[in-house]
Symmetry: C2
Subunit: 193 residues, 2 copies
DNA sequence: TTTTTTGTTGATTGACGAGTCAATAAACAA
DNA sequence: TTGTTTATTGACTCGTCAATCAACAAAAAA
């Protein structure tokens, strides 16, 4: 049965299974066996390819962050003004790829992981800094030296909406969430009332 | 050594130790033994008084929420206008009692717990609903029928700032956090620019 | 004083899970 | 063909942990 060149396929399957399993169970308390089973292989194979549980988690996190980053980059490419670029960032964050319940739940758990795993913390920091830098850069032409605090508020609001989605009371769909942040943005830009 | 009337003391010690332990370790992966040790007793005694780990967690969560609620209630009592009442809510949330790193970390983990434990989810829902209702009620006289969406945004921002504190990059102190939310509030009330 | 209730723990049980290993098998290289 | 690399797993080890239990101690009730 053994084919050759399985490694990348297995790795990808494990990464996806990890995100799904964490998302579905809503907790980092998933066993390697569960993940491996979902990915259609034995737990021994998971260990073979990744070496250990932590590395599986980190790979899953990297993937999640990479998908998000790619989405943002793609959206930014289509935008040509500061305002539309900020909109792009927001829309990408709440797009259907990232804003499904399981994915958000996985995110939340990555935040928890970041509290104990140095590497996970570093990864999350990179994401946060990038988001902040993006917002800041595009806000500067719009609000000048207020950009820093505005970026802080918009970024905080985005994270907060994610958190609330994870708890999952209100089934805020993505476009509603986007609208909420953009409304706040309008206010910040002094166009609202 | 056994004194009488220990039950409430032991329970309180265990609850506090649970919060501290979760906060310190940044994870729900704390053992009953760790908690019991921190509270100065054997793990068997912890089981004796609470019956099981989950119930210890729930008691700790109830306590955290109760402390928060008490703080808000206290602050509200001193305020007499909608605007100051909203300020009171915000200030209470970021007061020194609730906004210490370990406590915030414990909160974050309670969010995770809420994803798997029905009872924990219910508790957190009560808190969220209460916060929302408080904001809504006091925003109504200030912004009329926009109150709903404004409450959503302010509440989201509060949660987001908590989340960022948990990650702990920026050591946002409480007053800075308060200022940030109040600035957003001013914008919403159309007084900013 | 005896009995019961309350407080307390060390030792044990039973389950579960991460990680290892030896064995098997297909593909590929020599 | 034969040896080597890659893929794969079932079985096993070792540790950990929640939960239980038997036993002991002190206070209160009888």
């Amino acid at each position: 049965m053994p084919k050759v060149g399985m490694e990348p396929i297995r790795r990808a399957a494990l990464v996806q299974a990890t995100i799904d399993e964490i998302g579905a169970s809503g907790s980092l308390d998933v066993t390697v066996s569960q993940i491996a089973k979902r990915a259609g292989m034995s737990s021994a194979l998971a260990h073979h390819y990744f070496g250990g549980k932590e590395q599986i988690f980190l790979a899953a996190m990297r993937h999640t962050l990479a998908v998000y980053a790619a989405e943002v980059r793609g959206a930014l490419g289509m935008a040509d003004s500061p305002r539309t670029r900020i909109e792009a960032i927001v829309r990408a964050g709440f797009g259907t790829t990232n804003f499904r319940r399981e994915v958000v739940s996985a995110w939340l758990n990555f935040y928890v992981l970041a509290q104990t795993s140095g590497e996970a913390g570093r990864l999350l920091n990179v994401y946060q800094r990038r988001l902040h830098a993006n917002l800041l850069y595009n806000l500067r032409p719009l609000v000048g030296d207020k950009a820093e605090e505005v970026a802080q508020r918009i970024g905080g609001l985005i994270d907060g909406i994610y958190l609330r989605e994870a708890l999952g009371t209100k089934t805020t769909n993505g476009s509603k969430a986007t609208a909420m942040v953009l409304a706040a943005l309008d206010l910040e830009l002094g166009q609202g009332k």
